[in-house]
């Protein structure tokens, strides 16, 4: 579903590459966790995959289509949620969802159905008539999740999706993620919460200073240790 081949990206004025020769493959049905410390290159990778950020070299294929050659077709098949859900604060929740549905050309009946389903699951229905500027961080995150699912994408990319969510909403989001992948979708998300990655992800990749340190099945990567121990060891090793 998502193939990242030898991706490299360097920002102007910086000495080192933000992402350096990164290769990852995410298959349909997989929840793929992307782990790394602050500034490791997770957000840059996710932004490049979502078509927001241009990259210097390498290739990104979504459902077999190159994001460089056919960005619109790729974007129709995926959804992206950034780490900080900066949404249009002057719109109400329902206006925002309707706007996103129009942008993705979702038929009226389908958008009504999906909004009802996900807003109920995430307990946001009552607040949909309020302006987004009255929302808490967690409510914005929930709205961003609903807007990402409204066009039924094949690939979901999320940057730190659990930040700001209350325990119940975080639990619901995990269920939605699992159900999404069980229905054939793929999820690629970054996280700092290693316990979540350990329990939820089918596969994980650890990145440090833009370079891939390790990637594979969660079970294989962690072995007999916790993912936290493995992460700390690997990061220390690559640092040394």
């Amino acid at each position: 579903m998502l193939q990242i081949n030898h991706l490299s990206k360097q920002y102007g004025g910086k000495d080192r590459k933000a992402v350096d020769d990164l290769t990852l493959h995410i298959k349909p049905g997989e929840i793929y966790g992307f782990i790394g410390h602050n500034g490791a290159g997770k957000t840059t990778t996710l932004k490049a995959c979502s078509g927001i950020l241009k990259f210097d070299s390498g290739e990104i294929l979504i459902d077999g289509i190159s994001i460089k050659d056919n960005p619109l077709e790729c974007k129709r098949r995926m959804a992206y949620i950034p780490d900080n859900p900066d949404l249009y604060e002057f719109l109400t929740g329902i206006q925002y969802l309707n706007f996103i549905a129009d942008v993705y050309q979702v038929p009226a009946s389908e958008r009504e159905e999906r909004i009802a389903e996900y807003a109920t699951a995430l307990e946001l229905t009552d607040d949909l008539a309020s302006k987004i500027n009255s929302y808490s961080h967690g409510m914005k995150q929930k709205l961003a999740v609903i807007s990402a699912l409204i066009h039924n994408p094949k690939l979901l990319m999320m940057d730190e999706p659990f930040v700001g969510l209350d325990p119940k909403a975080a639990h619901t989001l995990k269920q939605i993620m699992r159900q999404f992948c069980d229905n054939g979708g793929a999820i690629f998300f970054s996280t700092h919460v290693l316990e979540v990655a350990e329990k939820l992800c089918d596969k994980v990749a650890i990145i440090r200073a833009g370079k891939l340190v390790i990637a594979g099945d969660t079970e294989t990567v962690r072995g007999d240790e916790s993912l936290e121990d493995v992460f700390l060891e690997l990061v220390e090793e690559s640092h040394a």
């Binding site: 920002y11 102007g12 004025g13 932004k47 979502s50 078509g51 927001i52 950020l53 241009k54 619109l72 077709e73 974007k75 129709r76 959804a79 992206y80 950034p82 900080n84 900066d86 949404l87 249009y88 002057f90 719109l91 109400t92 929740g93 329902i94 206006q95 309707n98 706007f99 996103i100 549905a101 129009d102 942008v103 993705y104 050309q105 979702v106 038929p107 009226a108 958008r111 009504e112 909004i115 009802a116 229905t125 009552d126 607040d127 949909l128 008539a129 309020s130 302006k131 500027n133 009255s134």
Partner: protein, 539 residues
Amino acid sequence: MLKTLLKIHAKAWMESMFSRRRGKKHIGVGMKILFVFLGIYAVAAFGLLFGMMFDAMYEPFNMIGMGWLYYAMAAIMAGMLCFIGSVFFTQSMIFEAKDNELLLSMPIRPSAILGSRMLLLILINYAYSFLIMAVCGVVRCIMGPVTVLGVIRYLLCCLLLPLIPSTLSCIVGGLIALIISHLRNKNFFTMLLSLVFLALYFMFCFNMQSYIERMVKNGAAIGAAIQKALPPFYAMGLAVQNGDWGQLLIFTLWCVLPFAAVYALLSHYFIRIATSKRGLKKVKYEAKAMHASSAIWALTVKDLRRLINSSNYMLNGCLGAILALAIAIITAVKGNGILQTLADMYAGGADVNSIAMPFACVVECMTMSMCILSAPSISLEGKNLWTLQSAPLRAKEVLLSKALMHLVVTVPASLIASLLFSVSLKMKGLDLLLIFLMPLMLSAFMALLGVTVNLHWPRFDYTSETAVIKQSASSTITMFSGMGIVLLPVLLYVLLLRKYMKVHVMMLICAAALAIGVFIMYDYLAHRADRAFAKLNQE
């Protein structure tokens, strides 16, 4: 502590007013020269306007033995300018500042936070006050000899004067914040208030000549009224004119005591003011049938919603349309007197009756060129740009939707204004066609020009929308380009071409030139702007 706080507030204010975007691209030399030129032009225009006024006032007031009225009038005008310029700043800087809660959580006395903000307010008012008081002083020096003590007394008064409008701004800003906290549609209220202030300002400008004449004729009566109703300004006038140190002390007390009282009062209630939540009422959602629309219309509606939710954007972006409508309505109701006033002010007193259509057309085009709705529209995406860049949208759809938003507002305003002009000035035939065609072509041109300019001079690192709407390079370039596009053909025709062609021919040529411009920009935005759009906010 006060110094540190003042530094932080001043930095934040400067950032919102003058900061330029980070990154590799800086504003070029040409742009810098343009900005310097515009700055000099604005100061010179102000100086000339007030200089002529003070020049007309000084002698007559002195002749009737009321020389103090000269200084009192200057102080009143400076006070008004400070008040209009700072009242909304007071509201956002003192009562609704975003960092109030952060600063209150630190070991800083609330009175120090408030004091530093009020001090910045006074400094800003010094800048406004300087524009008028400096001209007043210069004209006085030209008119006759001055003494060192006289100059010192005048400078002391100039130092104290901004305390009066600062006190008033704090009171009125506080009242506005209080009223807004009880309203749902705070943007509409803020815009309405801003329009009232602007209307007062324009009324003052339109009638300035008659005010001066009346003041000169009835100086004694006006002086008596000021003495009774505005005693601080009377005291200030006497202190400077007669060298009366007692009156200077009275003026000082008038400036300092109310300011201190307001400071003490606000200090007492500052925590309550700073921590109260405003205008964020929650509404319970009830599901209704939803309707699908095209992506471009969804983008347009989204931008229109941004517009109606921002009083700043509405006021600055739509001011031209509001002015065009106001002038057309006044013309329809009261005849072409307002057009004649404009001709007296800007067209050397030309007789409007003989040039009704072209003059009305120029007035409408000139005001419509001040509509710069599309010029900040890309920058205003700010942190939300990711939504558009990650969605399956072509650059064409995003960019043209912004031009469409501009047209949705300006075209109806232009049609109504043209209709009112055509009926009230009894236009027929080609006149009728041109009064509708020219403003419409100009609106289309301005809509596309704003988007094109903003695409190449975007700014995403702002902390306040005001910085983008009012002071950004794209807004400035678009507005002055629009004015130039209207004024250049007018000057060209009046100075050179009037002997060779009829005004209708000239206007048709201008319409054709605008149509070519519209076509070129449309073609660029629709077919060749993908790369520029993809490059936005890449660092």
